[in-house]
Amino acid sequence: MQLSGKVALVTGGRKGIGAAIVERFVLEGAKVVTCGRGARPSDMAPNIDWVQADVSCTTQISKLKDHVATHYGGLDILVNNAGVQIEKTLVDTSDDDWDILMGANAKGVFNAIRSLLPIMASGGSIINMGSVSGSAADPGLALYNASKAFVHGLTRSVAVDHGPSIRCNAICPGWIMTAMADNAFAVANNPVAAKQDALVRHPAGRFGTPADIANMALWLASNESQFVTGQLFTVDGGLTASSPLNPSLF
């Protein structure tokens, strides 16, 4: 029980990586609040506190902060997980796309930290969701890539400005098997071959799972990482340690 007595807020905890982090934090003894744009999911465990809030909206995040302050008296762990992906090149991207994507991935992280950091206890940990795409580009994801680079930069700034009382780190996932990745393979010319090709590029021999990311989030939330701040942690099964050439070619 590494998080006994801690209060954690995980944005975007309805599904995928966010849900895995919520589940793990609860198992480790934390009181967990999570949020999303929709109503409380019907299948959500009763001990998880759901607040309907859109991270891109300053007013709604402010209300979320009031909720946390009133019901828990403060916050120990903030995980900025909420994010969206839009598969477009830069010239195809509309103003609405910008508002949706940058609203969630960039302004959302800014909003949540600005609002919640003041009620965080000394020793608190902020964990942002970056991406391997924030350091090297995935094709056709121009704004997404850029938004994750923003998260990487903001992570360092928060760590520098708000240490020593608050730590701030980012996790950079690679290919995690979520609905998002499934969709990518489903539209491939040859889904079986595409999946095999992608697997060969992972030294770990498999794709990641949301639980792999939750493991890292737990470590960054716990006291095991109390000297760790301002850094990016890549969890990608070795994907970005190897060159973009297909290793099966050689």
Partner: protein, 258 residues
């Protein structure tokens, strides 16, 4: 007669290119000659015919300290100082660590790392005499991320990257700049050896080209263009940096075939 593309910005400069007879080294020598430099191609390999009338040759084994001393004694006697040193000698061993013998490991480190150390060690005093200098080492994107079956090579290039920064720190105050170029795929005999000689080499090469954002791999002149810039005064504020030159290859996350 100077080609229009050349500015003569290295006129009168003294440049040693270790590994100057290799694939990339030859292109660097040729460019330096065209920019007006006195060029010494220092290599164990023989001088290519094309360079014989325009550059000097010195038989230099980068792994031997005495060879570095003799090379720089020759440069001092001929010119009194040194302006530019390019450490372009290098080899590749296509093996995992289990397949690599200790002798092979020591040989690749002797050439790629110790060679850079020794030639620079005896070149720096001649740059100090001039009060300025530019050293250009050869790293590789493999010093940042790995290609399969190149373990020792990757390790040597990581070492060159760190050595580059260390040398830049130590000699910056003497106006001696140290940088490294980190090539990706460049059409050289080394690359041909990497591709091997069995199977469908042409479609393999096409696949490799296609993975590059610029849809080709580099040629030695692409490398020489950057070496040339780093060697000259336009690069006077550039030091301690690793210059990735790979047609965009490593700007990408791995490209799944979706």
């Amino acid at each position: 007669m100077v080609d229009k593309k050349f500015t003569g910005h290295l006129k009168g400069r003294v440049a040693v290119v270790a590994g100057g007879c290799g694939g990339i080294g030859q292109a660097i020598c040729r460019r330096f000659v065209n920019e007006g430099a006195h060029v010494i191609a220092a290599d164990v390999a023989p001088m290519p015919e094309a360079l014989q009338s325009s550059a000097q040759y010195f038989n230099h084994d980068v792994t031997r300290e005495q060879s570095a001393q003799e090379l720089m004694a020759f440069v001092e006697q001929q010119f009194g100082h040194l302006d530019v040193l390019v450490n372009a000698a290098g080899i590749e061993i296509e093996k995992t660590i289990e397949e690599t013998t200790l002798d092979e490991w020591q040989r690749i480190f002797a050439i790629n790392v110790t060679g850079t150390f020794l030639t620079s060690k005896y070149g720096v005093p001649l740059m100090r005499k001039k009060g300025a200098g530019s050293i250009i080492n050869f790293g590789s994107y493999d010093g940042f991320i790995a290609d399969p079956n190149l373990a020792a090579y990757c390790a040597t290039k990581g070492a060159v990257h760190a050595l580059t920064k260390a040398m830049a720190c130590d000699y910056g105050k003497e106006n001696i700049r140290v940088n490294a170029i980190c090539p990706g795929f460049v059409a050289t005999p080394m690359l041909e050896s990497f591709f091997g000689d069995s199977g469908d080499i042409e479609s393999l090469k096409q696949e490799v080209r296609d993975i590059h954002p610029l849809r080709r791999y580099g040629i030695p002149d692409d490398m020489a263009n950057l070496v040339n810039w780093l060697a000259g005064d336009e690069a006077r504020y550039a030091s301690g940096a690793l210059w990735v030159l790979d047609g965009g290859l490593t700007a990408q996350v791995q490209q799944m075939k979706l």
